[in-house]
Symmetry: C2
Subunit: 222 residues, 2 copies
Amino acid sequence: MSKVRVAGFSLSLDGFSAGPDQSLTEPLGRRGAELFQWFFPTRSFHAMSGQEGGLINIDDRFAGSSMEGFGAFIIGRNMFGPSRGPWPDDGWKGWWGESPPFHAPTFVLTHHQRPPLVMEGGTVFHFVTGGIHEALRVARESAGDKDIKIGGGASVVRQYLQAGLVDSLHLAFSPTVLGRGEAPLAGIDLRSIGFSLANHTGTENAMHIVLEKAQQNISDAL
Amino acid sequence: MSKVRVAGFSLSLDGFSAGPDQSLTEPLGRRGAELFQWFFPTRSFHAMSGQEGGLINIDDRFAGSSMEGFGAFIIGRNMFGPSRGPWPDDGWKGWWGESPPFHAPTFVLTHHQRPPLVMEGGTVFHFVTGGIHEALRVARESAGDKDIKIGGGASVVRQYLQAGLVDSLHLAFSPTVLGRGEAPLAGIDLRSIGFSLANHTGTENAMHIVLEKAQQNISDAL
């Protein structure tokens, strides 16, 4: 059955998924790019961003599985673009150019209606104003048997976790501290909402952990 | 010059240095032992605890340097033992047997006076009732040119960090999440109090990071 997954979600060791002072030139906030040192050098990221080469290593395996095989994506508006409020007529089509790396229906949570945007390579941006449950419902319809990825940012991941709607969580902890920023997991007790550790892999550039939501009775015994 | 260091300090990826529900049988709290899977198998820990063998690897290097060469230690009373309030006449001499692994003067923060305890192997427990600054003053007198280790637990590390008294911080993040417990760094912005990343090393069982307090002008530039 289709799972709802967070995958390739990068955090600093002090729990931030983006640095402070986000801006157009630093969409990940101050030092936010340090969170992706495990990801940027990989062949998967190179391929996603139209570059040759890249490393084929454990990080690459996680990078690949964090983007491939999903039947639908759900992202927050702030991840889609820098504008806020009613959509301006600025031609913005996301950060990713004409062929975004989603290659599947991608549902953008927003308070403001907008017609779908059909991109190259299979990505269609749908703008959902009905909230996280509604977005998941339509994502499920699109995804069929494939998994659904909750792509971010921090606030969207937090909302889906708190609502108990996430089945699987791959977190990549990067060897940095940001001090301040967006802390999607702050105050969330992942154990009590049913997650247990499925596996971990340490590399030079990240500690990868995969948490799965077990059936309640199994989870209690772990 | 003598530095004040936190070293070999283990944390879960959700920021806990001990699990919930601490007890005599689980002094590290529920799942707290998971924090030390990088430490327990090492030759350094084996030697500390009077066992033969043990792994000689990167984790062992960090384990060794987290206990060796210090001129004095400062620890909290709850790390010294399970009793609270006025000292009971129970013969308790710490968790570590007749020859504790400190091999140096070890200052125990407490609200209740007690004469020093001379142990085997160079450890002398001194009980300090004058607070963290007083403990650091007497530890400096004892340590000479050697470094002083703030040994824990969570509350003591937190107090020394918040007071700006720590120069160097080696944190070992273990691949687990505890959900609840003691969170010594919660709300502390390590960047703004002057720390920057000196180095990091990822192993299968921990992401080790060393943070150093730079001079203010250097720190700003990093």
